[in-house]
Symmetry: C2
Subunit: 584 residues, 2 copies
Amino acid sequence: MRTHTCGELRISDANKEVTLAGWVQKVRNKGGLIWVDLRDRYGVTQLILEEGSTDKQLLDKAASLGREFVIQAKGKVVERAAKNDKMPTGDIEIRVSAIEVLNPAKVPPFIIEDETDGGDELRMKYRYLDLRRNVVREKLQLRHRMMQETRKYMDGQNFIEVETPVLIKSTPEGARDFVVPSRVNPGEFYALPQSPQTFKQLLMVSGFDRYFQIVKCFRDEDLRADRQPEFTQIDCEMSFVTQEDILNTFEGLVRHLFRNVKGIELEEVKRMTFAEAMKFYGNDKPDLRFDMKFAELNSVAKGKGFSIFDQAELIIGICAKGASEYTRKQLDELTDWVKRPQIGAKGLVYVKFNTDGSLKSTVDKFYSQEDLKAWADVMGAEPGDLMLVLSGDEKATRKQMSELRLKMGEDLGLRDKSVYKPLWVVDFPLLEWDEETKRFHAMHHPFTSPKREDIPMLETDPGAVRANAYDMVINGVEIGGGSIRIHDRATQQLMFKHLGFTDEEAQKQFGFLMEAFEYGAPPHGGIAFGFDRLCAIFGGSDSIRDYIAFPKNNSGRDVMIDSPSTIAEEQLKELSIQVAIATK
Amino acid sequence: MRTHTCGELRISDANKEVTLAGWVQKVRNKGGLIWVDLRDRYGVTQLILEEGSTDKQLLDKAASLGREFVIQAKGKVVERAAKNDKMPTGDIEIRVSAIEVLNPAKVPPFIIEDETDGGDELRMKYRYLDLRRNVVREKLQLRHRMMQETRKYMDGQNFIEVETPVLIKSTPEGARDFVVPSRVNPGEFYALPQSPQTFKQLLMVSGFDRYFQIVKCFRDEDLRADRQPEFTQIDCEMSFVTQEDILNTFEGLVRHLFRNVKGIELEEVKRMTFAEAMKFYGNDKPDLRFDMKFAELNSVAKGKGFSIFDQAELIIGICAKGASEYTRKQLDELTDWVKRPQIGAKGLVYVKFNTDGSLKSTVDKFYSQEDLKAWADVMGAEPGDLMLVLSGDEKATRKQMSELRLKMGEDLGLRDKSVYKPLWVVDFPLLEWDEETKRFHAMHHPFTSPKREDIPMLETDPGAVRANAYDMVINGVEIGGGSIRIHDRATQQLMFKHLGFTDEEAQKQFGFLMEAFEYGAPPHGGIAFGFDRLCAIFGGSDSIRDYIAFPKNNSGRDVMIDSPSTIAEEQLKELSIQVAIATK
């Protein structure tokens, strides 16, 4: 149907008779000439028809073409008079001898250009038209590239790609499962996997040694902007490895992707313990594109009569380099910002380290220039810098300061989307206390091994037990996480006990795994990367939705195909279920 | 945890101090020597310990190792006295200096060797142990190789891999859907895709031009041995193509896979129309590893007083080369075989073309040597051959003869698993009549385009309309099928009408697709390969189940994890459904 795509003809093709096919991007009609921009995935090629030298019927046909018509055009490649060096095909045009309309098109509901006038809702409903825009399609081409390169690396490292089942068993741990009623087994349900965790561990028991899969996973959670009910993971597991082996292998993967997809040589991947991350950045996924480390000021700021600080559990400051020129208005806005309910700070103390060496703070009444100089020393501040200080309850203050640090990084232009700062955060706590259910939850998952030296603390101080667990963080976004797993029945049982499972519950849900551990399970560990998010990071976007071909909206609906939907009574009957909507 | 795998040490590694880890395959203890075969995915390495030169404690530890214990062993690589040239590591052994038991193992429920004593049920329950057997793991390694090579080819051909959604919309056409209740949208359900058909067509409307995906699909059908509720497809679609372009592209894929996975240069892929396949082989997926084409005998066998033939609608014969020596007993068995209810023939006529040139048949009473010689001419039979003849109603007779042909091929050893005969079957009928529902069904699917010249027959003789549809067949197995699609609203609507949809039903189910066709849909077509089956063919197996890591049994159960299972009342309530098992 075509001899060439719309992206490939060059001046060296001049005089060739060609056939192209694609979409009409634009028709211009001026001074007896008609130009048609013909578009496909590969590019745009200009067609030209001239009054006089072209027959009238063909001219009329060309003039009547609408936007997004699908046509086939035959003609000769000729050199353009006015070259367009912005287009790869800009040196040539096609002098058209025949046009066939393969399919006409209605006027699209929004403009199919990089800049469109379509709102979110409309573009979701006509996603197939939105995907026609170059900027959108390119995101999915990036995703394709990421998938191919991931597989190339993993295959090269001797990992075997194994497809694990989608119809599995519902487990009460973690997020809510999507379930699937079984027709053949009335009253019983499959669940869709939140991850292939137990299967990949069983593959290690099977001696597969190195497993990976790029796999759809499912969580029936209330959706936020960056969550989808179905999402994709790069899921991996290795046997006979230490944590160090895993970090090196997957640092290699990320390095390979940056090199081969973006042409970037990634710098060294830093490492930081969870405790350090919390202490210096107030969260477990610090954005290292900028410094602004927390400095603790208790020793220099207490005992000077400022009661707020004197009563605070923790006083911490950050130093915003070169920001001493912030105006009063800017600083007031910053103060209002930290006091917003989402942040929740009581107030903000700032100290300007003026370029003349003087210090000006909101607490000059309590602190002398020497006192403030001592703060500056702790924070590493120099003339020209702005120091921002928060205080209060330790946990809350770190959290607030983390938000403030990110905002300052943003405001000062330090979060450059073309810069990538990868980081391993290691030594996560094994358990976290859940106030609501009054019990411990597994911070990673129940299969994560505690550090051997911390096991005795399981009885005495469970919250302090560290896990062999690690996250990879890039630019403040967690892109992957994993752990060295438990591989013996006794430890796994102990773990379930500490998570509040009765022996019976543990056996019913995970008996097959614990039994497998008794038949020669090797030490093993693994990791899973959030593939949608990884693509978004590579694409320089904050939203994973852009990197999913057919995403769902915040109510889990696909508005294009109008799903979910009701099903026939007959179908429900076959599945031995009934709809029972609770009246409120 | 290891310096080498159990498959990599060679004589050139002699004197190296190494650490290996793996499973104890076998322990032998003889004349003061202990040998341990240590196994991992990569191979087996022999460990050796000698009384006297090894300390007592280590000897005792080695002697006490059980089968399938997971151990780590340190020692020195030494040349073996008695080399084993059947093992890649057979020139060396490890003189052990330390052993650590990483995990003991209970005695496995069946032997972990290529030949096992475990029955199907037991091996399914302990699938993780079955997967430990080399012969089983190698099947999944083949599958891995097939996936990687498929992607390599498709990527090289400019196809973009796009993940389409798993949570989609239930449609009444085709097999039964698995459904997923939506918690957020009470009373509504997602369906799991039977194929990504509509999504890949929308991607063509989006201008993706070439799409592929290796994707899980789902069908809630009653299971047979070679069906699974979840299965994998290589799913593909292309724009601006003719059928010829598609056949060439995917012949290329299959050729690439044979070359790169099996080292086989595939011969030319033959082409045959559906009509020819039915006429000469009695089915739409002929096994071309052997000839035995049907010969029609009506003109030579009627009118000789044999009333069975005289009354038959069709008389067909096949010629089994070199089988004239079949004994009376064998021929009686063959006659019994065709009369079994599964085959349903009334009887079997045979003619031996003896090596002396004489002809001996079961119908000598009615046919002279000359008559039988005329049969032989039609069938291409020569002295030494056996002719087998069936007669009756045309459709049934072709079907019976197809079965008989396959059986003869099998019995005569003509269905060699190492020989591959690929074939395109083209020009399938568009519709097939369903006696039960008394209406036409789409033979491929409702999106398949009729041949343009046959469209008028839609009104007059729908069953005779041919489709732009094709199957790839290898060795009598359909491994893939596809079609050129309808790409305009009017034809799609006409098609739905002929399939018995009301306009309203068509709009409700597929309105989004028909609307998409109005916004500039390019001509397009595609194909889907059954990936599990393709792997089985490549592996020389009849069962797809062997090529699936965690298959389900014939009741759709995963007996290893015990799924499906009941779920909590709480969970049902959240999902706004109730279990309602019909009492019979």
